[in-house]
């Protein structure tokens, strides 16, 4: 009887550990596609101008050099990322480097971050928007496999 109880406790603990591990993986493994924009942003009547060039470095890896009105993208596992930006305000000017810890909403697959707005310290609703892919124009040509396995064809 004692062994049976112990066995059930071990099994329950094992299941609990698996459930906890699954929840942890759901939290830390959420993937996002993040698009960085270097565009002027209008918010509540005020305009935040776009600098001449922004070098985007995510988690230590250089992603792109963004000139005005350009966009780049990066995929990230997890909701947090370390964003380093090297900003050149005017052509031929000096670069200033800033490091940010960016948090992406967990539910969104793809987000667009307006870098000038983000660096200016505007609220999230101003610099962040969801990326919604354009609806697919492809035809319904991917028919499920409904072939005749027996090879009778149309009898």
């Amino acid at each position: 009887m004692k062994t049976k109880t112990r066995s059930w406790i071990i099994r329950s603990a094992f299941v609990l550990v698996l459930v906890l591990l699954a929840v942890l993986m759901l939290r830390i493994g959420r993937g996002h596609t993040i698009y960085f924009d270097n565009r002027a942003l209008e918010y509540q009547g005020a305009t935040t101008a776009a600098p001449y060039k922004i070098t985007v470095i995510v988690n230590g890896e250089q992603i792109s050099k963004l000139y005005e009105k350009e966009r780049c993208s990066v995929t990230n596992i997890g909701d947090k990322l370390e964003l380093t930006v090297e900003v050149m305000q005017q052509k031929g000017g000096s670069e200033t480097t800033s490091v940010y810890s960016l948090k992406v909403p967990h539910d969104l697959d793809g987000v667009i971050i307006n870098l000038p707005g983000y660096m200016a310290g505007l609220p999230e609703e101003a610099y962040l928007e969801e990326f919604i892919p354009a609806p697919s124009t492809e035809k319904d040509d991917e028919a499920p496999p409904t072939t005749d396995d027996i090879g009778l064809g149309e009898v």
Binding site: L21, G29, G31, T75, D109
Partner: protein, 374 residues
């Protein structure tokens, strides 16, 4: 008391005839194919990481005397379903693989219980029964994936769904999980990429099997595998032991399928699992295993020989005949052929054993009668 066995070259060759044949085939084909050694080695190591776990899943049912588990396809289906869910939830990288592994456990246990309980009702005909269970469950899999996913089971992303709004597309992309396990801790030696983490996981699975053989349950399985009636008389719950072996095999197969598919980076939703059992069984048999005996050594030898043949056959076929399709035909023919030969050899061996036992019994009876009359 230990008896010293005499070394007999003939029996050694006959016991290892299949691996020897494949060594010869590979030895002839490798130079003919003209493939560089680095490329060949890279491919073999990749396939070793990709396939070994799946083939390991076949060892436990063989230990329990249930033969080659064609029902491992069920585990592969469980792994695929878990991967579809994880891909839809956008869980990427190693966390995605861990989550898929966890999700596949209840699914594969359920399928293993179903398969095991049917096989317990078909004792002595496990292989053909498991083969047809796989066909039957393929229909159930299609029903779930083609009609229930997206309509009853929520699927959020249109990239996974068929344009009609329900059902999964013909190909599921695992781009964000692709080789995440193989690339973690990978080392490159002379241009040959060694997927270290994958190999560590395979080594752990091997250690588990070695350990499991020594446990009470493992010993019970071996006893059941040797003789079910004797095991039952010894107080072993034969049906339960056989059921556990199939459940374990199915769970192992689902893990193996996840490892396999993360290496590929995408999978054909409705076909990925269909031939997986066949090729795994063929590889195990090429490694020198039989229907009633298999070891970890057979798994590794089988993967290396079978997949070396797979890599070099098209190129060698192309060089010999000018048509690489000949090589393709050859490797398919060899895969099915080796299974057929193994099954025939098993039946022949069983009949020979029965004949020898009958002969022995008759001789004993005759000697007894002669003794009485004397």
């Amino acid at each position: 008391m230990k008896t010293k066995k005499n070394f007999n070259l003939g029996s050694l060759i006959s016991a290892n005839s299949v691996p020897i044949l494949f060594v010869i085939i590979c030895a002839v084909m490798i130079p003919l194919s003209g493939l560089p050694a680095n490329y060949l080695l890279n491919e073999v190591v990749t396939r070793l990481g990709r396939n070994t776990f799946l083939i390991l899943s076949l060892l436990i049912p063989i230990m329990a005397g249930m033969g080659l588990n064609f029902g491992m396809t069920l585990g592969a289906m469980a792994g695929e379903m878990a991967l579809i869910m994880v891909a839809d939830w956008q869980i990427w990288g190693i966390p995605g693989l861990v989550l898929a592994t966890i999700l596949s456990i209840p699914l594969s246990i359920l399928l293993g219980l179903l398969c095991g309980s049917i096989l317990n009702r078909a004792k002595g005909r496990e292989m053909i029964t498991s083969y047809f269970i796989a066909f039957f469950m393929n229909g159930v899999y299609q029903l779930i994936v083609l009609y229930m996913m997206g309509s009853i089971i929520p699927i959020m992303h249109s990239t996974l769904k068929l344009p009609r709004g329900y059902g999964i597309r013909n190909t599921v992309s695992l781009l964000q999980m692709r080789q995440s396990l193989d690339n973690a801790l990978a080392v490159s030696i002379n241009g040959v990429k060694i997927p270290f983490l994958t190999l560590i996981i395979i080594a752990l699975a091997c250690l588990f099997i070695v350990w499991f053989r020594r446990t009470k349950l493992g010993q019970d399985m071996r006893a059941v595998g040797q003789d079910m009636n004797v095991a039952r008389d010894a107080g072993i719950d034969v049906d339960r032991t056989r059921l556990i072996s199939i459940v374990m095999s199915t769970v192992f197969a689902s893990f193996g399928m996840i490892i396999y598919l993360q290496n590929m980076g995408n999978f054909p939703t409705y076909q990925a699992h269909t031939n997986i059992g066949m090729f795994c069984i063929a590889a195990l048999l090429v490694g020198g295993a039989s229907v009633d005996k298999a070891s970890i050594r057979n798994v590794f030898l089988g993967v290396i020989l079978f997949h070396t043949m797979f890599i070099v056959a098209p190129a060698a076929g192309g060089k010999i005949t000018g048509d690489s399709m000949i090589g393709e035909y050859f490797r398919v023919f060899m895969s099915y052929g080796v299974i057929t030969v193994a099954l025939v050899m098993y039946e022949a061996k069983k009949r020979k054993e029965n004949r020898t036992m009958g002969q022995q019994l008759a001789n004993e009876q005759k000697a007894e009668e002669e003794g009485k009359t004397a």
